[in-house]
């Protein structure tokens, strides 16, 4: 185990892709424990970890997002937010958060969202007199909403790994997502008041009406998704397929910014961005599988249950553990490795797996904003052209706000469980 940890750390340090690090660690763990014959089954393990209808939703949601983006959806969402909240002090910062909240209901990944929005919002905010690092921090923080507001790649991965209903996970994410959005808006209001942020002219109701009409077709995607899950007509994977069809129709016929010759490029982007996630899933499952031979999950679980029998104390411990691990391990890998460890001990604490799933996902999304391995941090600093140090200074208030929401969600299970309970 120690040797595996050392090799894990060294490989991470020398810039080996995290997915490869996980795979190598899995094989080494099997090897040092004398399970050489198990190593032969690694390819089978890689294959079967992706042979899942639930995970099929990942490329489909990615595809819908790609189509929507090249179809000009980002532009219209920003315009819509601009018309409604742009005239307040610090208007563009609100626009950023509101547009991100809506975009999160179409796209399921923080990385995709941060990449799209940073390129547009950071230069726009700088032009209006905001500090560049504040623009990058606001965009990256608001990008956190991507995996919390449905659809969400993280929820799909948690659902597939834990055997919980992905539909329930999606519904459970709605209130926490809105809470984060509100927390960020309050934060921007406070900072804006202190630093006297710029504001813009108020838009007329006619302009507002026009940009609302333009945004409606795009919001069909989350509309169909939520409707499908609530009525039980579609599974999340099927609604992802429908989302692609809607995205194509809306971008091609309504927005008309979309050209068919862009399709091959979109397919290639979808394949690569899906694979970045699925390779992590496949390799993390090799490591997770190797750890079960070592009885690592059981040891951690036993240790956890000897510390406390109080669910609140347990959840606080889990939060601390996840926030710390989330700083050094990639989020998706963390979910795949930890879910099989924690989910079996939840019943003894009387914790609902859906509540726990939202918690685990919230924790790892906070991790994307923190050094040293936060993917959101790297995207926002490299695309937004700001230094990591100045970004961290600007982003920490957002991280604190997100942790406050995390604590609320931890202590009040109704925030996650209420909407799914309405369906039954």
């Amino acid at each position: 185990m120690t040797m595996t940890l050392v090799i894990f750390a060294i490989l991470l340090f020398v810039r080996v892709p995290i997915a490869i690090v996980l795979g190598v660690s899995g094989i080494i763990l099997l090897f040092v424990n004398g399970n050489e014959d198990m190593i032969m089954n690694t390819p089978q393990r890689l294959f079967s970890s992706l042979e899942s209808y639930s995970l099929l939703a990942i490329p489909l949601f990615m595809l819908a997002g790609e189509i929507m983006n090249s179809g000009g959806i980002t532009k219209r969402l920003i315009d819509f937010a601009q018309k409604f909240v742009g005239h307040f002090r610090g208007g563009l910062a609100y626009v950023n958060i509101v547009a991100n909240t809506f975009l999160a209901s179409i796209i399921g990944s923080a990385a995709a969202q941060i990449a799209m929005m940073t390129k547009v919002m950071v230069p726009a905010m700088e032009k209006e007199g905001y500090k560049r690092e504040f623009g990058a921090a606001t965009t990256a923080a608001a990008g956190m909403l991507g995996p919390i507001i449905p659809p969400s790649m993280l929820f799909i991965i948690y659902g597939a790994t834990s055997g919980s209903s992905i539909g329930d996970m999606f519904l459970a994410g709605i209130i926490p997502g809105i809470l984060i959005s509100v927390a960020f808006i309050l934060l921007v209001a406070y900072i804006g008041y202190k630093q006297s942020f710029p504001s813009k002219m108020k838009a007329s109701w006619k302009e507002r009406g026009k940009s609302s009409l333009q945004v409606i077709p795009a919001l069909l995607v989350p509309g169909v998704l939520i409707w499908g899950i609530i009525t039980g007509v579609f599974t999340p994977t099927e609604s992802a397929g429908i989302a692609c069809v809607i995205a194509l129709i809306v971008s091609y016929f309504f927005y008309r910014d979309f050209r068919l010759k862009e399709l091959p490029g979109i397919m290639i982007n979808t394949a690569i961005s899906t694979a970045i996630v699925t390779l992590l899933i496949a390799m993390a499952s090799v490591l997770g599988w190797a750890m079960t031979f070592e009885r690592v999950p059981q040891t951690i679980a036993e240790w956890m249950t000897t510390i406390t029998s109080n669910p609140i104390v347990f959840l606080i411990l889990v939060n601390i553990l996840l926030l710390l691990l989330g700083m050094v391990v990639e989020g998706i890998a963390l979910i795949i490795i930890l879910t099989p460890i924690f989910v079996p001990i939840l019943p003894s604490f009387g914790i609902d797996p859906i509540h726990f799933g939202v918690l685990i996902c919230l924790n790892v999304t906070i991790g994307i904003l923190t050094p040293p391995v936060g993917s959101g941090l790297f995207l926002a600093t490299s695309l937004g052209k700001v230094s990591i140090e100045s970004f961290v200074k600007a982003v920490w208030p957002f991280v604190v706000a997100a942790i406050i929401v995390l604590l609320l969600v931890t202590f009040i299970p109704q925030l996650t469980l209420w909407i799914p309970s309405l369906i039954e």
Binding site: P17, I18, L46, P59, I242, P371
Partner: protein, 166 residues
């Protein structure tokens, strides 16, 4: 350098060509499946299977492509603080480790699919020999090894010229 460049680029073109077919096939299969189930009330079980296996294939091919475009997630924060010479050496070490791993999994997967019991298995509804699905692993790992080897050769060349590996 030129040779590995040519091979890696041709493999990448092939991969691009394949996913441009696989992803639309996956979407179409999904749409057919939904349409027949909800509107014609006769589920197309084979469409589900096609959607699933095109997903697995494109995932593994995409994994190799993510290495070619150098987009696979890695931690760069520590290594970027190193003096450029040490940094180059460390990155080369990492590339060697990654290449060996890719080749090793490629080797394991070849042994795996050559197993007679695997060669006999078929998919449940479409009755396609399952080895065509399993082939996604050795082929993608082979492609991934090609990209890693090229990346490594390129990195050696760059550090010999005294430049910084990107």
């Amino acid at each position: 350098m030129k040779f590995s460049q040519t091979i890696s680029d041709s493999v990448f073109s092939l991969e691009k060509g394949l996913v441009v077919i696989l992803i639309p096939a996956m979407l179409l299969a999904m749409v057919f499946d939904i349409f027949f189930r909800y509107f014609l009330n006769s589920p197309l079980v084979w469409a589900q299977e096609i959607a699933l296996y095109t997903f697995v294939w494109s995932s593994f091919l995409g994994a190799s492509m993510s290495i070619k475009v150098k987009e696979a997630v890695a931690v760069t924060l520590f290594i970027d603080k190193m003096p450029s010479k040490i940094r180059n050496v460390l990155i080369l070490v990492g590339l060697i480790a990654s290449t060996i791993f890719a080749i090793y999994i490629f080797y394991l997967s070849i042994t795996w699919i050559m197993d007679p019991s695997i060669l006999l298995q078929k998919t449940i509804t479409t009755q396609i020999p399952i080895v065509y699905m399993y082939l996604s692993i050795p082929i993608s790992l082979l492609f991934m090894s090609v990209h890693f080897i090229h990346w490594f050769i390129e990195a050696i060349r760059i550090s010999k010229d005294g430049k910084v590996i990107t």
